[in-house]
């Protein structure tokens, strides 16, 4: 007990819950009559509420972006590398807020929450939510917390998509948009990977049409397969080669179908540990939100036109080894922003790991973020 937490961390944090009774209209035509938004904050809000940063999370993320829930926690929040005192999102200067998205697995209202109409878990009845729905709910959060406007909205991957949507939907409520390791829409290949993941879950005999909560089971194998597949797309070929090569667990080939190669063992471990902390219905919803995101669609595919209303200043970052949302996908965003005459900078970070590099502390990445954020800090009042 009383383990010392790292000094460069925000330390012990506690999630907070905002219960909202005003209905939230959704893109699918349905609405949520009431809902909870669970979020964490790090750092103090200044007197004119102008130093707030909104952090948007990705597919498997949640509201716990930094710090520890207890001194015994093995791991800090998911973006501990970037959020904290003297880190790029400096909690000595900014008030960093990270909400969990609707439809999520352990915070804000989602498929595992109780539907007030039926008094049982939503399960498959939870409406399909979109990136735009999340942004709409985050705008409600902004109003309820009395934040004049976000100094910065930042996110990686699916989080970066929310950042773009913010800049388009609420241009006067966002100062800077940090779009990291994202894409303006999924490619057919991206959607194909998502579809296999969904099929794995839906066809698990324990899925019960999404009502597995009632049967006291979880579609373990399906969710595990989905995560194993996803995990391959988060890592580069080189990273896997470097980490596992063709190493054998027992040092020899056994001519069987049990785990033999180290990479198999690693993937099974990743899959299995994911099942313990994630919800299968949430996985289905998150992958759908990814598939549907395409802000250019309403403008005949013209992304520059979609960005026209935006007034935020943009920083776009990609990673050379990321093949899920590769640098050319980020360059599509940059080209559209330049076409639209927006203020934008773009950094392409030399990296080895793949998509997950946006959570790492690569020096060029950290220096770029820090240089950008220290300029933002000069704009806001202490």
């Amino acid at each position: 007990m009383d383990k010392q937490l790292p000094a460069e961390s925000v330390g012990l944090v506690q999630p907070q819950t905002l219960h909202i009774e005003d209905p939230l209209p959704l893109d699918c035509g349905k609405q949520l009559d009431s809902y909870n938004l669970v979020y964490e904050t790090y750092g103090e809000l200044n007197a004119d509420a102008s130093n707030a940063i909104l952090i948007c999370h990705a597919l498997s993320g949640d509201h716990h972006a930094a710090g520890y829930h207890s001194a015994d926690d093995a791991k800090p929040g998911w973006w501990e590398t970037a959020i904290g005192p003297a880190k790029p999102f400096d909690t000595n200067k900014f008030c960093v807020i990270c909400p969990a998205n609707l439809g999520g697995h352990n915070g804000s209202t989602g498929p595992g929450s109780i539907n007030p109409k039926t008094e049982r878990q939503y399960g498959p009845d939870f409406p399909v939510v979109t990136v735009r729905d999340w942004v709409r709910s985050q705008e409600v959060l902004r109003q309820k917390l009395g934040i004049s406007r976000w100094a910065v909205v930042a996110g990686g991957s699916l989080g970066g998509m929310q950042v773009m949507q913010w800049a388009i939907d609420y241009p006067d409520k966002i100062g800077h948009a940090l779009v990291i390791a994202a894409a303006p829409k999924l490619s057919a290949q991206n959607i194909a990977f998502n579809e296999i993941a969904r099929q794995a879950i839906i066809n698990d005999t324990d899925f019960h049409g999404g009502r597995y909560y009632d049967h006291d089971v979880v579609p373990r194998l399906g969710l595990m397969l989905a995560r194993m597949l996803g995990h391959i797309t988060y890592l580069s070929d080189e990273a896997m080669r470097a980490k596992f090569g063709r190493d054998l667990r027992e040092g020899r080939i056994n001519y069987g179908f049990d785990v033999e190669f180290q990479v198999e063992s690693y993937l099974r471990h990743q899959g299995a540990s994911f099942v313990d902390r994630f919800d299968a219905n949430t996985y289905l919803l998150m992958t759908k939100a990814l598939d549907y995101f395409d802000p250019a669609a309403e403008h005949d595919g013209d992304l520059a036109q979609a960005f026209k209303p935006a007034s935020a200043k943009f920083l776009v970052v990609s990673f050379t080894s990321d093949w899920r949302f590769s640098p050319p996908r980020s360059r599509e965003i940059v080209d559209a922003l330049v076409d639209a005459g927006k203020t934008v900078s773009y950094a392409e970070i030399e990296s080895d790991l793949g998509h997950n590099d946006f959570l790492m502390t690569l020096p060029h990445y950290v220096r770029t973020l820090s240089a950008y954020m220290s300029r933002v800090a000069d704009e806001v009042n202490p």
């Binding site: 330049v338 005459g341 900078s345 773009y346 950094a347 970070i349 770029t368």
Partner: protein, 200 residues
């Protein structure tokens, strides 16, 4: 204090212009143009340290490789396209100049003049590759792969139907003299050109 050649370019720039700076380095020129001429500028730069420097200065920088082409930029989408001191470092200067003229209504190119008497003298008499303040690298570690002279450059412009609307020669201290105006290829160390596609 802005370097003298950059000061000259800056004087050529109308207020409020939309500017693309190819190989913008640490963003010195763009930062100056933004502050003094209210230009809306983007710089293209490949070196990560320079990219960070630009971000820290509040200059719009896009980390892109000039040799990968500029096809993503629309025709006539910029008032000015600049390239200061990067011409001799790119794979195909001729193609890049064509691209500059396509993207910008006006283009500005600067390069070290290999026809200056000092490099000529070094090569002719000492028989070694010239090293000077305008050409500081040695033959084996230089990023310069396409050095040219004022004559070479103007021949290229003639062949590619490019109009030279301004020319300015300076020495390594970025000063200009009467002699450089008379004998640009022999006495000018750094050449500055403003170019425009010849109307047909």
């Amino acid at each position: 204090m802005l370097r003298a050649d950059l000061k000259i370019i800056s004087d050529w720039m109308p207020a409020g212009a939309r500017v693309l700076d190819l190989g913008c380095g640490d963003g010195t020129l763009l930062a100056h143009l933004q502050a003094e001429h209210r230009v809306q500028g983007y710089g293209l730069e490949i070196d990560p340290d320079n990219v960070v420097e630009c971000v820290a200065r509040g200059v719009n920088v896009l980390q892109l490789d000039l040799d990968a082409g500029l096809t993503q930029f629309e025709d006539n989408s910029f008032d000015f396209v600049l390239m200061t001191g990067a011409l001799q470092e790119v794979q195909r200067p001729d193609q890049l100049i064509d691209e500059m003229l396509r993207i910008g209504r006006e283009s500005v190119v600067t390069f070290p003049n290999f026809g200056h008497w000092k490099p000529r003298f070094t090569l002719a008499l000492k028989g070694t590759m010239p090293v000077s303040r305008a050409l500081p690298n040695r033959w084996y570690d230089t990023p310069n792969i396409h050095l040219c002279t004022v004559h070479d450059f103007e021949n290229l412009c003639r062949n590619q139907h490019i109009d030279i609307t301004r020319r300015h020669l300076v020495n390594h201290a970025h000063r200009s003299t009467w002699g450089m105006r008379m004998l640009p290829n022999l006495l000018g160390e750094i050449a500055l050109y403003q170019l425009r596609r010849r109307s047909r």
